[in-house]
């Protein structure tokens, strides 16, 4: 069997090459209430990471996986870079829960990949868009076990605007988000 090609960092010079116009607006064939997933990416000193590539992939509100495109861009996929404050924003629909092959239920979630200078491999994780007490049976929540660690993956709803979900990604140290490997 051929060996997989090793990963390397995206480096600092991708911005002009990998960013798309409106890459932060995630398309779906159906309607659905629009929400925004937004927050910041921080390093081990709590400093904002201003040169990360932030990608998302998710189901639609009924839990159906996107398959196809609108003629110009794929459905269900978002791609932005962080700005000078480490800030990102993805405008999308709220994903529904879905079933796994063994009948297990995946809670409403967005799969996130973070690439950056200093990251020799992508950081993968899943951000939950449901209160922590409603996600405990999710396969990743079960694999994590510890509630405090699980909390690092739960987006919080803005009290002033229920359409806004906030999720900060701390890559290292205090409050470090859980990252996954497949």
């Amino acid at each position: 069997m051929p060996k997989p090609t090793p990963s390397q960092t995206v480096g600092p010079f991708f911005a002009r090459d990998l960013l798309w116009k409106d890459g932060g607006i995630v398309l779906f064939p159906g309607g659905g209430d629009r929400i925004t997933l937004t927050g910041c990416v921080f390093d081990g000193n709590g400093a904002p990471i201003y040169d990360a590539l932030f990608e998302t992939w998710q189901a639609d509100p009924s839990g159906k996986f996107p398959s196809g495109h609108d003629g110009a861009r794929p459905y269900g996929y978002g791609r932005v870079s962080t700005d000078t404050e480490g800030h990102y924003a993805i405008e999308t629909v709220k994903p529904g829960s879905f079933k796994g092959p063994g009948g297990e239920t995946y809670a409403p979630q967005i799969s996130v990949a973070i690439f950056a200078r200093g990251l020799l491999k992508a950081l993968h994780t899943r951000v939950f868009l449901a209160p922590i007490e409603l996600i405990k049976d999710d396969p990743l929540a079960r694999a994590i076990g510890d509630l405090e660690r699980l909390r690092t993956l739960v987006a919080t709803r803005d009290p002033n605007d229920p359409k806004i979900y906030r999720w900060d990604a701390r890559l290292r140290g205090a409050g470090e988000a859980v990252f996954i490997e497949f």
């Binding site: 990963s7 960092t9 600092p12 081990g44 996986f65 020799l120 497949f182």
Partner: protein, 228 residues
């Protein structure tokens, strides 16, 4: 018990010789999970997402860019050796002087008005791709005294499943800077040669362009953690 293949070839997150990893690498171990059924599917790019001309980085300007023209061919495969068909490959690179047209690139080398250094291509039904470009230059960086990055082309790969997503770099055979590059050296020895293209003159254009070949391998779309 079978060993994971990925552990053999991928770099660690923390590689202190590459300074930027020190504050960005997670300190906690990663949680191992099978790809969700969502992650076993992936974005579908329309055919017209890529135009044919985007595979030739030398035709972007009004005239030819400076540098050593080259043709790069190869195949995109999965770990079972099957072609990954109609998958998006994005590339970006420095120009022949080792300069990126990017605001944070402070290397005092000339931009080339005829070279943007950005391209993309979809693999064909056999997983093949072909791009035409110029060989990128090496360039200095601030990681350590007298540090220079070896010539490289950045690759962003999608495969047919979100869990296959890979960003990497391709290097050139015989480059003495590979030995002093912590980014390349972060890859375990068994994986390093997988990042180096082969000279393949007949894939070039006689009297015009050098030929190189580089195959890439993505994890199987349905791969689950091995040994679990």
């Amino acid at each position: 018990m079978a060993e994971t293949h990925s552990a053999d070839v991928h770099p660690p997150y923390l590689y202190p010789d590459y300074k930027s990893t020190r504050l960005r690498a997670p300190a906690q171990p990663l949680v191992r999970v099978a790809p969700s059924p969502l992650e076993a599917a992936g974005p579908v790019f329309p055919k017209h997402f890529v135009s044919e001309s985007e595979a030739d980085l030398t035709t972007w300007g009004r005239s030819a860019p400076l540098g050593e023209k080259m043709v790069l061919v190869g195949r995109l495969l999965d770990e079972d050796g099957r072609p990954v068909r109609r998958a998006l490959i994005e590339v970006w690179q420095a120009n022949a002087s080792g300069k990126y047209p990017h605001p944070v690139d402070d290397h005092d080398a000339p931009l080339d008005p005829n070279f943007l250094g950005k391209g993309q291509v979809l693999t064909d039904d056999e997983g093949r791709y072909r791009i035409v470009t110029v060989k990128p230059g090496a360039y200095p960086w601030q990681n350590h005294p007298f540090g220079w990055r070896p010539a490289h082309i950045h690759f962003s790969l999608f495969g047919n499943a979100y869990a296959q997503r890979l960003i990497t770099q391709m290097f050139f055979p015989g480059d003495p800077l590979l030995a002093i590059d912590p980014i390349f050296q972060s890859v375990p020895e068994a994986g390093r040669k997988l990042l180096i293209a082969d000279l393949d003159l007949e894939q070039g254009i006689e009297g015009v362009a050098l030929g190189y070949r580089w195959d890439m391998v993505l994890r199987g779309p349905r791969a689950t953690p091995m040994g679990v």
